[in-house]
């Protein structure tokens, strides 16, 4: 059997079993334990060969399948033996239980597919952020009874949602965190952008990458450029965006300066 399907397509051992059942065109109501066990182990073995630290759930299922397969090879003991330490475990029952588990799981997997379609349709629809009606509202928040107020929990959840959203939007951010970002490099970048744009740029626009390290380094680069008179920053009013323009020292700025010289 070839392993063209990548493992990250699977949600766990049940999902993998369902895949094997489908691929081998097995009747889920009559699972050939020996065959499915061999195929499953083959798959797991293949994963081990690439030195993958297999998740315990996959191994547990492997053990379960092996136990079932070996019991099927043994003759059924006398009924008297049920008085022993361990009751006899009928492999037929185990097979039924596995079948039921697979059928149950498959139903929810299908339901998840339907939900995914719904989600996709819903994500095509956009709405504006609500207008700020606070000028009409009662502004004395403390007059709101405690039961009607937002709680610390609401606030923390809002914050966590924000962080989660940001994280999901930037799957690569952890890798970039570890990169060395020299200040000189950012200075060159800001100057190049200003020269190319040929008009003042907004403070926000130069912080294009929403990452903490990037933000700090870019900010330091900007301060350094201001010190050199290479750029001038202006803000006309409170809340207004700060505009960055080339300064008198811009022509003297050496783009080829060693980026690690800071």
């Amino acid at each position: 059997m070839e392993y063209k399907v990548k493992i990250d397509a699977f949600e766990g051992p049940l999902d993998l079993l369902l895949h094997l059942i489908k691929k081998l065109e097995i009747d889920i109501y009559d699972i050939p334990v020996a065959e499915i066990t061999d195929q499953y182990l083959d798959f797991i073995h293949h994963m081990q060969k690439i030195e993958l630290n297999i998740a315990s759930e996959y191994l547990l299922m492997a053990a379960t399948l092996i136990a079932m397969k070996s019991r099927m090879l043994l003759p059924k003991p006398e009924l008297d033996d049920e008085d022993g330490d361990e009751p006899y475990e009928d492999p037929e029952m185990a097979r039924e239980a596995l079948m039921q588990q697979l059928i149950d799981y498959r139903q929810f997997k299908e339901a998840a597919e339907t939900l995914k379609i719904n989600e996709g349709e819903r994500m095509q629809l956009f709405a504006k952020t609500p207008s700020d009606l606070s000028s009409f509202e009662n502004n004395d928040l403390t007059s709101i009874p405690v039961s009607g107020r937002a709680t610390v929990h609401d606030m923390l959840r809002a914050f966590q949602r924000l962080m989660l959203k940001k994280k999901l939007e930037q799957p690569l951010s952890t890798k970039i965190d570890r990169q060395i970002l020299p200040i000189g490099h950012q200075m060159n970048k800001v100057m190049n952008e200003l020269k190319r744009a040929d008009h003042p740029l907004s403070f926000q626009s130069i912080f294009s990458y929403p990452d903490r390290t990037h933000f700090i380094v870019t900010f330091l680069a900007l301060l350094e450029l201001m010190k050199m008179n290479a750029v001038i920053c202006r803000q006309s009013d409170n809340f207004d965006d700060i505009l960055i323009n080339l300064g008198e020292g811009a022509d003297e700025f050496e783009a080829s300066e060693d980026p690690f010289d800071y």
Binding site: A55, A97, Y105, P130
Partner: protein, 200 residues
């Protein structure tokens, strides 16, 4: 009522604009327009829904949400909307989260252990994601010594998947033959199986 239908129409449109993604509930419209009955409002909104839908010149449509509606752009607008950075794009749910929320929707109230039994894998992360997104909530505690947290879906779930109520979920393809029971052993498969044996 004193207001003309056209006027009421315009007021609702204005409110739908102001509330944007938060939307409006029928209740809220009723409070702003006390002279209208709920039926009148519902009829008018239905008319508006049709008008938007049939109007090729409009990029807007009315979408239902729990107990109300909101104004959104039509699906074809997605390409254009995404060109604007001001529109935050949310990441779709992972397969793990989708399976988990599906189980909760069909079997609520349900514990983490029961979910993991069905999925065959740990589902803690998926549960946390769903909690943060507000799609599920804690609805109680299981009886017994474990007192496991039980999860259920929220109105946000319905809204997120564009459903009016849970009855719109497609029926599960097969009847669940086993009642979902609380099991706290690690080897769920064997427990299940031993129970079957003991019942003989």
């Amino acid at each position: 009522m004193n207001l003309k239908p056209a006027k009421i129409h315009s007021i609702i449109e204005g409110l739908l604009y102001l509330t944007g993604e938060e939307g409006l509930t029928l209740d809220q419209i009723g409070k702003v327009l006390p002279e209208c009955t709920g039926q009148e409002i519902t009829n008018l909104v239905e008319q508006m829904r049709k008008d938007y839908e049939e109007n090729d010149e409009s990029g807007l449509m009315i979408v239902d949400q729990p107990n109300g509606f909101r104004l959104t752009t039509k699906p074809f607008m997605a390409d254009y909307a995404e060109k604007f950075a001001v529109i935050p794009k949310t990441a779709p749910l992972s397969q793990a989260a989708l399976e988990t929320v599906a189980i909760i929707a069909y079997k609520q109230p349900v514990s983490r252990i029961a979910i993991e039994e069905i999925r065959g894998v740990k589902s803690e992360r998926a549960l946390q994601t769903l909690m943060v997104k507000g799609l599920i909530k804690e609805v109680g505690r299981a009886e017994g010594s474990g007192r496991a947290i039980l999860y259920g879906i929220t109105p946000v779930f319905l809204d997120y998947f564009g459903l009016h109520d849970l009855s719109e979920l497609p029926p599960l393809s097969e009847m669940m033959k086993h009642q979902n029971e609380q099991m706290d052993a690690y080897d769920l498969f064997y427990d299940h199986y031993k129970e079957t044996i003991n019942d003989l």
